[in-house]
Structures are given as structure tokens and as C-alpha cells.
Amino acid sequence: MKVSKVMTAKEAVVKFIEDGSNLMVGGFFHSISHVLTHEIIRQKKKGLTIFAASSNEHTDQLIGAGCVDRIESSYNGLEVFGPSYCYRRAIESSIPHKVEIEDYTNFTMMARFMAGSLGIPYVPVNSMKGSDLLRHTAWKGENKAKLMKDPFGSGFDHVLVPALQPEVGYFHVQRADKEGNCQMWGILGDAPWSVRSCKKVIVSCEEIVSREIIGRDPNRTILPGYKVVAVVEAPFGAHPKNCQGYYDVDRPFMKDYIKKSKTAEGWQEFMDEWVYSVSDRDEYIQKYINTFGMRRFLDLKAHDFSSSSVNYGF
């Protein structure tokens, strides 16, 4: 009998995320683990270096809360919703403190995660070549990326980017079992490579299911349990972002965040209300329903578009 890795968000963050960690922050605009992000903020983690292909409002909140010193990513913004104001305040005016950023591209970040996942030390790419992304660097200096003559004789130079193997990472999926076998479907975004590259992974999920359910559809497993150190059951754990098959993005809520985060004071007000004054996700859901009503909560629920099953028989 394998040991259960099931624990609360609070326990997982206390146990596995230390000040100064190299932390992979999973999620590409959707299926973002807000449940774990908010817990990291409440526990006032400091000095984090965060890694993400593209970072969104969870990173913005970690920056605003003063948890982050350095970022390696390709994009910091909230897509159609607007800019990441905490990120801009940190870089343009050192509020709450200066944050350094090492800029890559989405593909090069993914190539770095892939290389880390496979134990490949670095990977040659065409992206970044000739651009100022290659010329300018923050703290990594010449180790950000290197230009190398193709040893196989194409005559061209290639950009080598170093593999990433963050100490710990976290992300959100639809379901996992208590050993940490994670299943995700729909758009994968930065998964599976971002999480596979991490030495340890904390996963939050909509549902914990039995090992037998996982075994009914093993192709759906994007991360094997051996990587996972903690499994946190958190329905609605990605809200206000969408989680395929569970709920849609909460546009008014996102718009409200953008509006309030324009100023440091407004941002603090939002965080006091939705992060600092609630102790866990259950309380968050209850607060959401009390504030906006059950109707709006239920309206977020996904429509049914179930897949046809396949025969795994032998």
C-alpha cells in the first residue's frame, strides 16, 4: 500500500515551499492554482525565484505581496484583461520592492522545461537569435543563453538555452489520485513539460479519484505520481480562471481585479477581501456565494461535452 500524499493547501505550502525557493508556477492563463497561490501569499513566503512560460494574475499577486525577487519567463500580463500592474510597479518603481526579470520567449521557456524534464542539459533553438533578448540579461549574465556555431555544418549559429529543473513547482488539474498521478484534459498550456521538469510537485485538483479511475484512462495522465509530493483537493481551486469540464472563466471577477490592481491601495483592498481575510478555499467559495449569490456561482459551471470512450482491452 502506497502512502497517501493528500494534505491541505496550508500543510503542503508549509512543508514544501521554503523562502528563497526556485519555484515553478504552473498554469497558462487557465487552470491556474489560485488555491496554492493564495496560501503562499498568506504564509508570507519571501525571496522566491519563479519560473513560468507566461505568468498571469497569480504571479502578479505573488509579486504584489512581496514574495518574489526574480522571474524567469516570457510574458507577464493578463492577456485580454489587461496588464499585470503589480509586475509593472515592481519593475518601474520598485513597489513593494525591486523584482528582476530574465526575459525569454514562450517556446524557449518550454524548450528549457522539456530539456529539464528529460535530463538534457541545454537545447538549441532558433528563437531569440539576433534579438535584444539575447543581448540583454539581468542576473544570469552570459548564462542566460549562448550563441553557438552549428557543429553539424548548417553554417548558421544556434541559440543554446539552459535546461530548467526547479526545486519545486505547483499546478492545478482536473483530477489526481492520492499517490499523485495527475490527469488533465483540454488545452494543456505549459503542462506537462513545466511540471515534469520540477524535482517536486504540489498538485491541486478539482477531485481526488481512485487509482482505479486513473487506470481506466491512463493516456490522460500527464504527470506520474513519483514526481508529486502533495495532493490538495480543491474544487473551484482555479477560480477566477477556467478549468475544462468544471467551470468557465469569471470575467467580471477578473475585470474587477484589473480595475482594483491599477493602484497599490486598490490591489491591497482586493487582496484583503479575497486572500488575507479568508483562511482556505472552502471559506473563499462560501464568501463568493455570499457576495455574488448562488446563481452566479452556478452559472460558471461547465456545459456537458463528454468524450466518447475508447477500448483499452487486450
Partner: protein, 259 residues
Amino acid sequence: MKHKYTNFTQQEMMAVAAAREIKDGEIVIIGTGLPLLAAFLAQKTTAPNIITLYESGAYDCKPVRTPSSVVDSVLAPGSAQTASLLEGLGYVHAGDIDVGFLGGAQIDKHGNLNTQVIGDYRAPKVRFPGSGGSNDIGVGCKRTIVMMAHLKQRFPEKVDFITTPGFFNGGKERETYGFVGGGPSVVISNMGLLRFDAETREMYLASYHPGVSIEQIKENTGWDLKVAKDVHETEPPDPEVIRILRDECDPDGLYLKKE
């Protein structure tokens, strides 16, 4: 009833001009906003057999409502593949994708784009989101279509920071890098259509949108913009095309603003 569609906004002109640049059967990587509407419009008019790809990994999507994001859950049901960002941009990096859309804070005379900073890189006056997939699309797609608001500070002679290379300093410089992608083929602004000289790779004005003068465009460009010998007015959109754009591509008014 039809008169309602005879007027059009600058934004709508841009979406229509972009749709005309997509050829039937092509594979097109799109983001949100006007590029998405341009691809949808092309699909519903002149290019029904194009395949849409989103960098998030969604391929050949059949969304039943206008997606508000490249990870909108509506993109998955009915799509031919939902993979990851590594595949979405990997197909681009491999040189398999025909057309990509780009935008940015600044574009220069030779089509180089800046989505990074205004001012000094280490202590910027304004910090933008960064490349995202822009650089990858710019070096990997067979050609790119750039959509920009036409303002002097956004069309400088040289960008503050090259996030996504166009033709560098012009001429054959881009070719020395061995990119699989060919670079920008057109810049669609709210004022006109700009293309690149085949030899010098310098941007020139190919057509001006209805209601805009060549003089206005030159005034809003940060260098002495050359004008094509056969410069002409951009063909105005057909009212039926405007109807499809508004009522079928963006019925909820997610992207199109009323002017």
C-alpha cells in the same frame, strides 16, 4: 436594413484588410482580438478551408462562441487536437505554419517589433509584458501580418528593443540568421497598409484606408515614409462582409468597439 452595414470603423477596416491577406487552405496561428476576428472572417468568406492554431496547443478549433482567450475552454470541444504550448509553438518553430499575427508597442522602418520596454532595459520608463510567443512566431512562421495603431511614437525609425526581428537593418541581413520563417509581409495599421521593399526591406505605404490621407500617415510615422508609385485607397469593405464580421464573428462585441 442594409445601410446599417455601409459604415465601418477603423478597427473593422483593419480586420477586413487582415482577412484578405489569408489564403484559402493555409494554417494560421492566431491570438485574441483583431487577428482572431480576421481569421474567423476569412473562414466565413474567402478562405473557408484555413486551419486555425492557437499557441496554447489548440489546433483546428470549431468554437461555438467567440473565444475571449487563447485558452478559452470553448476551443477544446470539437478541435482536432488540444496539446500544449510546446506543440503549439513547436509547429511554428519547425516551419510548418503559413501565417502568424503580431503586434507590439513599437515597429520600426524594417519591421522589427518591440513588446519589451520603453527606455533603458534595466530601468525602463514603461515595461510591457514581453515576447510571449511573438519572437517565436516572428522567426518561425512563413510570413507574418503585423497589426498596429498608427502613431508616431509607435512607428519610430529604430525600436528601443528588438523583441521580434523583422528585417534588422534591411537588405539581406535577415537571411544571414537561417530562420525558417520569412518575416513580416504586411503591416496593417488603422490608417493604411504598409509593405516591405523586396530589395531594401524598408517599409512603404501601399494603400491608405478610406478617409485617411497620405499626408496624415506620413505625419504619424517616425521616419520619411516612402510611398508606392501605385499607392491607392484600400478597397472599402463590402457591407455584407461588415455584417458577417459584426454579427457572426463578434456577436457579443467582445473585441469590436463602437466608434
